[in-house]
C-alpha cells in the first residue's frame, strides 16, 4: 500500500494496574477511507481509541501520524494534530446553540476574529454539506435536537476545523433507524471528502454499508485488518467471537 496511513500504530501495550487491556496492538487508518473497528464488548476498542486521542497514555508501542512518529500526551495535542473524537457521551453543551457548540473554545483562530454572521454562515454551510435533510435554524439549542442531529453537529465540528482523522465510538448506539442511516451517510461523506474515519460499531450491516476496511479486535489483540470487499459477514463474526476465521486472525 503506497498511501501513507493517517494513523499508524504498532505494538501498543496498555495495562490498567495488573490488567493488560491491549496486547501488541497494530492499527492503521487511511485518508479517504472508513475503517470499522469491531470486537466484542470489552475487546479494547474504546481503550485503543482513548490511547489514540491522548486520553490514556499507552505503556509501549509506536504511534505515527501521517507517517511521522508523534507523542500525544493530552487530548489537546491530539486535537491540534487534527484528530477529532466523537465520544458516545457527546461532548456538546446542551444549553448552547449549534453555532456556539461548533465554535466553542475556538471563536478566535490565527488572530482572526469571526463575527456572528460569519460564524452562522460557516455553521450553515458546513451542516448543509453534510446532511441531506436540513437541520433548521443554526440558533437552536442543542437540547432541542434529536440524537441524530446531535451526532451531525459533533461531526460537523470535525469538518469545520479541518480535522484529518475523525473517530466515532458507537455513534449509532442510542439512535433510531432513520437517524442511524443518516449518520452512516454523513460518516461516508466525511471519508469521501478525504478524511480518515474510524467507526466503532457492533452492527454488521452498518459496518458493511460504509467501511472500506475492517479491523477486528479480540481480547485485547488486533486479530485482523482486512479490506471489507474481501470478507464475508460470517468471517467477521468469527473473528469477533473467536479471534480467527480460516486463514484470518490468530494462529493456533
Amino acid at each position: 500500500m503506497s498511501v501513507t496511513p493517517a494513523l499508524d500504530l504498532r505494538g501498543i501495550e496498555k495495562s490498567f494496574g495488573s490488567v493488560t487491556v491491549l496486547h501488541d496492538v497494530a492499527f492503521s487508518a487511511y485518508p479517504g477511507e472508513v475503517t470499522a473497528l469491531v470486537g466484542d464488548n470489552g475487546a479494547g476498542k474504546t481503550t485503543l481509541v482513548k490511547c489514540i486521542g491522548g486520553i490514556h497514555a499507552f505503556d509501549a508501542g509506536e504511534y505515527r501520524f501521517e507517517g511521522r512518529p508523534v507523542r500525544i500526551g493530552s487530548p489537546r495535542e491530539a486535537t491540534r494534530l487534527g484528530i477529532e473524537i466523537v465520544h458516545q457521551d457527546l461532548a456538546l453543551c446542551e444549553n448552547l446553540d449549534i453555532v456556539q457548540n461548533l465554535f466553542l473554545g475556538r471563536e478566535r483562530r490565527r488572530g482572526l476574529t469571526l463575527d456572528e454572521t460569519a460564524m452562522e454562515e460557516m455553521a450553515r454551510s458546513t451542516l448543509s454539506g453534510l446532511a441531506v435533510r436540513t437541520m433548521g435554524s443554526v440558533r437552536q439549542r442543542i437540547a432541542t435536537l434529536s440524537g441524530g442531529q446531535r451526532q451531525t453537529v459533533a461531526i460537523a465540528r470535525a469538518v469545520l476545523w479541518d480535522s484529518k482523522v475523525v473517530i466515532l465510538d458507537e455513534p449509532a448506539a442510542a439512535l433510531g433507524i432513520a437517524q442511524t442511516q443518516q449518520v452512516l451517510e454523513v460518516v461516508r461523506r466525511l471519508a469521501d471528502k478525504g478524511l480518515a474515519v474510524v467507526l466503532i460499531s457492533h452492527n454488521m450491516n452498518d459496518v458493511f454499508a460504509v467501511s472500506d476496511r475492517i479491523a477486528a479486535m479480540y481480547l485485547g489483540r488486533m486479530v485482523a485488518q482486512v479490506r471489507t470487499s474481501d470478507v464475508t459477514h460470517r468471517q467477521v463474526v468469527e473473528l469477533i467471537t473467536s479471534g480467527a476465521s480460516g486463514e484470518l486472525g490468530l494462529r493456533r
Binding site: M122, V132, I177, Q181, D206, R227, S229, V231, T232
Partner: protein
C-alpha cells in the same frame, strides 16, 4: 492548416456551452477560476461571459456570503437561476412531482402529490398540466423556460420518446411527452425518460458520482430500474432501452416478474417480494417506500421474519451487483429509491455475496454508495436532461426561445 476542422463559430458555441455548463454544475466562479478550469485565456473568458450575459444566461456580481478577505474581491459569474429554468416531472408509482428548476440546478418551486395505485391514468395528464401551469405562473415575468423532461418507471424509445413498456404504472398515453407539451402550450417539447436512467445522470452530475465516469445507478420503486454511465455517458444501447438491470435474470425459474419472465432481479428484490417474504400485505394507504422502510426498521428491531426477508433480498441483490461489477467494472454503484434502505439494512449480506461472487480485480475498488440526492434523483435527472439543449448551444437556443414569434 487544418482541413475540415471546426469553424470559429463551432468553437465559440462549444466554449459558450462549456462555460455555462461549468457554472451550472459547479456554481458561481470568478473569471480567474474559469480561465484556469476551462483552459482558456482571460480575454476569451471575458468575451464569452459578455455573450452569455447579453443572452440573459449569466450575470457577474460580487460574491455572496462570508470569507471576505482583505482587498477588492473579484466578480463571480453566476447563472441566471430565476430567469432561465426548466420543468421537471416525476411520475412515480406512488407520487407525482413537478418542479421548476433554475439554471444552476436550484429547485425554485415544486408541487408534489401522492398518487393512488390504480388511479385513473386519464387524470394523470390533467394533474401534471395543472401543476406545471401553477409553477409557470409564479415565474418572473421575463423568465424563460428552456426545456422540460418527464421521468417515469418504464422503457422509452429514444428516437421518438414513445413509451414501450411500463408494467408497474399505467400512464394511459404512449406519447405522453407530446400530449403534455401540447396541453402546456409553452412551445417546448417534453422529453420522456426512464426514471433510473435519469437517476444515473443526476448522481453523475450532482450526486455521489461527481467525477466518476463509470457508474451504475440502481433505483428501487415498486420495481427495480437501472442506469449505466460508461465513459461519462448514459449507456442507452441501440434504441435507448439499455440499462434495464431490473430485468437481468439472476434466478432461472425463480419468482414471476411483471414482465412475464421469471427470476428477474426485480422479481427477486422488488417491493412486493420483500413484503411477501416478510409476511406483509401491500396496503393501499401505506405508499411503497414506507412499507419497505417498515420492514427494514422491523428487522433492525429484531423481527425475525423481516430480518430473513431482508437477507433473502440482500443475497439476490448482492448477486446482481456482483454480475454488474464483473461485466462493467464500475467505479461506483449507487443505490437509490427504496434500494437505499435495502442496501443500508442488508449491506452485510449484499457485500458477503459480492465478496464470494465477484472477480477480485473489479471488486477491490468498486465503491458502494447511497444516492446523495435522496428522494430527488429522478427529478434532478429530469432537470439535467431538460437543460442539455441550452447547455449545448446557449445563445442560439435562448435567442430562439425569447423570440417565439420567429418560430413557425
Amino acid at each position: 492548416m487544418m482541413k475540415g476542422g471546426p469553424s470559429q463559430e463551432d468553437i465559440r458555441r462549444h466554449n459558450l456551452g462549456t462555460l455555462l455548463r461549468f457554472v451550472h454544475l459547479r456554481g458561481p466562479a470568478s473569471r480567474a477560476t474559469l480561465a484556469e478550469s476551462l483552459g482558456l485565456n482571460r480575454s476569451t473568458i471575458m468575451a464569452l461571459t459578455a455573450d452569455l450575459t447579453a443572452a440573459g444566461l449569466v450575470r457577474e456580481e460580487l460574491p455572496r456570503g462570508p470569507g471576505r478577505r482583505a482587498g477588492r474581491p473579484s466578480l463571480v459569474v453566476r447563472p441566471e437561476s430565476t430567469r432561465v429554468y426548466v420543468l421537471a416531472f416525476e411520475v412515480g408509482v406512488d407520487r407525482l412531482v413537478v418542479a421548476r428548476v433554475g439554471l444552476g440546478g436550484v429547485v425554485l418551486d415544486r408541487r408534489e402529490g401522492v398518487r393512488a395505485r390504480g388511479s385513473d391514468p386519464a387524470e394523470l395528464l390533467g394533474v401534471l398540466v395543472a401543476g406545471a401551469r401553477a409553477l409557470v405562473r409564479k415565474a418572473e415575468r421575463d423568465a424563460v423556460c428552456v426545456g422540460a423532461t418527464l421521468g417515469f418507471p418504464g422503457t422509452v424509445r429514444r428516437s421518438d420518446d414513445t413509451i414501450m413498456f411500463g408494467p408497474n404504472l399505467d400512464v394511459g398515453e404512449l406519447r405522453l411527452g407530446d400530449a403534455l407539451s401540447r396541453r402546456l402550450g409553452l412551445g417546448i417539447p417534453v422529453s420522456v425518460c426512464n426514471d433510473a436512467n435519469l437517476g444515473a445522470l443526476a448522481e453523475h452530475e450532482r450526486g455521489a458520482g461527481v467525477g466518476c465516469d463509470n457508474l451504475i445507478y440502481l433505483h428501487g420503486d415498486v420495481g427495480v430500474g437501472g442506469g449505466i454511465i460508461a465513459h461519462g455517458r448514459l449507456l442507452g444501447g441501440d434504441e435507448g432501452f439499455g440499462g434495464e438491470i431490473g430485468h437481468m435474470i439472476i434466478n432461472p425459474g425463480g419468482r414471476l416478474c411483471a414482465c412475464g419472465s421469471k427470476g428477474c432481479l426485480e422479481a427477486e428484490v422488488g417491493e412486493r417480494t420483500l413484503l411477501a417474504h416478510a409476511g406483509r400485505e401491500e396496503s393501499p394507504d401505506q405508499p411503497g417506500r414506507d412499507a419497505v422502510r417498515a420492514v427494514v426498521a422491523a428487522a433492525d428491531a429484531g423481527d425475525i421474519a423481516a430480518r430473513e426477508a431482508l437477507q433473502r433480498v440482500g443475497s439476490w441483490l448482492g448477486l446482481g451487483v456482483a454480475n454488474l461489477v464483473n461485466v462493467f467494472n464500475p467505479g461506483l454503484v449507487v443505490f437509490g429509491g427504496t434500494l437505499r434502505d435495502i442496501y443500508l439494512g442488508a449491506a452485510a449480506q449484499i457485500r458477503s455475496v459480492m465478496a464470494t461472487g465477484a472477480l477480485a480485480a473489479p471488486r477491490e475498488r468498486v465503491k458502494l454508495r447511497t444516492a446523495a440526492l435522496g428522494d430527488d434523483t429522478t427529478l434532478v435527472g429530469a432537470a439535467e436532461f431538460a437543460f442539455a439543449e441550452v447547455l449545448a448551444d446557449p445563445v442560439q437556443v435562448l435567442t430562439r426561445l425569447r423570440a417565439p414569434e420567429a418560430v413557425p
